[in-house]
């Protein structure tokens, strides 16, 4: 299994509070991604990173920010959580090109009350 961990694995928070989710990899892969999974929508890309300090938006980036200060860590921040951000969040990594396999972490289940 690819070395990807996500923390925390479960979190319950209240509307309006800031939340940071962490993705850590030990594979030295260049690309890292954050997806959210919701019933009936599959997985949707939030943000991705193609190197240290290099990030770009995905299809559902509103309300989210990311940072990547080290190759191994990719942080997803909800500045002010809303109930619509209740979801399961997955981190993925890949070596880079569109033909490369993405390897997924175990997920973080976030509930915003």
């Amino acid at each position: 299994d690819a070395g990807i961990t996500q923390s925390p694995r479960h979190k319950v928070t209240e509307t309006g509070t800031p939340v940071t989710l962490r993705c850590h990899q030990t594979e030295n892969h260049r690309y890292m991604y954050w997806y959210r999974q919701d019933p009936g929508h599959g997985l949707r890309l939030i943000h991705y990173s193609y190197g240290v300090k290099d990030t770009d938006k995905g299809e559902v980036s509103d309300g989210y920010s990311v940072s990547r200060s080290k190759t191994e860590d990719f942080l997803l921040t909800l500045e002010s959580a809303t109930s619509s951000q209740t979801s399961v969040y997955f981190c993925a990594i890949s070596e880079g090109s569109s033909t490369d396999t993405q390897y997924f972490g175990p997920g973080t289940r976030l509930t915003v009350l």
């Binding site: 997985l43 991705y48 033909t99």
Partner: protein, 114 residues
Amino acid sequence: AQSVTQLDSQVPVFEEAPVELRCNYSSSVSVYLFWYVQYPNQGLQLLLKYLSGSTLVKGINGFEAEFNKSQTSFHLRKPSVHISDTAEYFCAVTKGGNTGKLIFGQGTTLQVKP
């Protein structure tokens, strides 16, 4: 813009029966196609992918898929399913370039009954 449609949200099937999970995509450019599987309470893992060449792609656990450009489809098949194949299956597409951004379908839950 690309999109992926998985035509069935749930597919119930008896053990040892064949199964087909359907996936259609739309894109104005050449794409790469993937099938991922998600077992309960786990992340996704790659079953197989089509990049180029032979349109019949074989993957892990006895699954295969056929790329049909004229019908813009990439259906997943297995000739004989096991209880352990019960999972959610996702079709995904990405276009060329170096971003690797995947567009996923809505998912199909395969329920294998004894």
